[in-house]
Symmetry: D3
Subunit: 116 residues, 6 copies
């Protein structure tokens, strides 16, 4: 299908390669990265929004894509995502805009017609 599926497939294939070739420390880091977004004192929704804004201000398209997908899966509304984007834009500046363009393109693929 679209970009979302391509990204997911590449991500899974290469993560498998990293697990196969990486060290024990590599694997432990990947575990931490997964655990980090699990519900605790903060729920997963909030943590995914934290992951999204962090990815935006650090300007990493793949990380932004990953967390946009996860936010949508967690049922976070488009209006809420727009305000996460705003925090990222104000904190990170206009240099964030190209990443917002690609994030909006992805969001249009994930939340088509009816939702708009």
């Amino acid at each position: 299908m679209g970009k979302v599926e391509d990204f997911r497939a590449y991500r899974e294939r290469m993560n498998a390669r990293i697990h196969a070739e990486g060290t024990l420390l590599t694997k432990r880091f990947f575990n931490l990265d997964t655990n980090c977004y699990e519900s605790g004192a903060l729920d997963t929704k909030t943590k995914e929004m934290l992951g999204l804004v962090a990815s935006l201000v650090l300007r990493c398209d793949d990380c932004v894509s990953y967390h946009v997908v996860r936010c949508v899966e967690e049922g976070i509304q488009r209006t809420e995502i727009m305000e996460v984007f705003d925090v990222g834009l104000v904190v990170g500046g206009s240099i964030v805009i190209p990443h917002l363009r690609r994030a909006h393109e992805l969001l249009d693929e994930l939340l088509p017609a009816a939702d708009r």
Copy 2:
């Protein structure tokens, strides 16, 4: 008093100077920066945590201090702040640790004895 008051006083004094000398655009940016954390589709609590994690991964001590103070003012619990720190640490890496040290020091000034 402590570091919190020094930081607040310096911040207010220099923000006044920026408003006095800056352009109209400078002032408009500062307004945007204030508006950005006001309650909307997301509440101020969530937005302050977004501001905190963004500041952490960008490794700006003053911004981290500002948002730690704001998070405590908004009644966000220490256990919740710890999980915001964790997202910042995992996303941003060990380079974030020196900023976490200073953020913990500030938190100990803001939430003393009884709270621990």
Copy 3:
């Protein structure tokens, strides 16, 4: 046509989507971003060079492309752009070089044969 046109079309299409879905704050940020390069105490030429060097050291290809196009539109000479690139290279280091390659490629599309 070439990369310049593709980039411009994508940029305009997605900016329209951002304006359609974004908040009032999003729109106000975009206005600030436009106003920022208008002639004031400094002329637009100087401001576009400032935008270019900032984009280079922050290593954002889309932002570099945008400001290279704008610099050429403002009549800034290739020899002048080369010196903006030099400041970006010295301040930002060898990590800037891949972005310089793509900026030169774009410049060759914008200022072909006769100009060289």
Copy 4:
């Protein structure tokens, strides 16, 4: 005297140590760094403003201080410096603000009373 003199003295003392202990490559890099702001296709004024905005968006206080001092030495007006700050603020985002505070403080030391 003030912060400007402290900064200048420390800078000169440690640059001398770097020249004494560094390699030939270190010395050559420092030469490049000096040459970079010399008048060429662009004049030194413009290049110092480029150095200033690059330092701002990369959020390096010492580099910002150095270029603010140099801009003032080159006769660049406060109103012009304000617009360099604006480009840095819009491109780099609110994370730049703490550095703007310190830059304004320095500017008040360099351009006192009469000038305001």
Copy 5:
């Protein structure tokens, strides 16, 4: 052939353009960049690993690719490269992971079957 060859060809073509159009300072910077990895107090192997980890934490794919190729040319083993990656991952955080995916993909092209 594969991505490695495409990258090398583009890199050489555009470096030639940069040398043709750039200033004397540009050329001198490129010379420094080359000299920097030559054997001295540290051998080239160590320096290439330093270049690789610096590129990883600064999250520059082209620079990572360049140094991965160079590390393999210098006979650095996959298990050693894995540990350079680990330092980059721990220091730079999960934001480095997308770059690790592409670095592993490149490594699989450079060190196929037999080596695994």
Copy 6:
């Protein structure tokens, strides 16, 4: 005593606070960070130099200080450290220079008179 001891004391005190207040994930990240520099396919010397150059290009003074101290403890020579600095300087650009000044100051405290 000097800056090294102050830094070490603060670091240990606040790391203890982080361990006391942080989550299980926080503690596991700190363990990873320690394990990362242990001898494996690469020896600790090489890994400490990797940590140093990564800290330099990310421009974190505390991290640079930590790894400079560790490099000296591991018996890495001043001439070798100078070349790690050079890679950091060329990759990261002149924005790294203020951090080099402070790193040299620390090195002068760690390796006094006789060694020079």
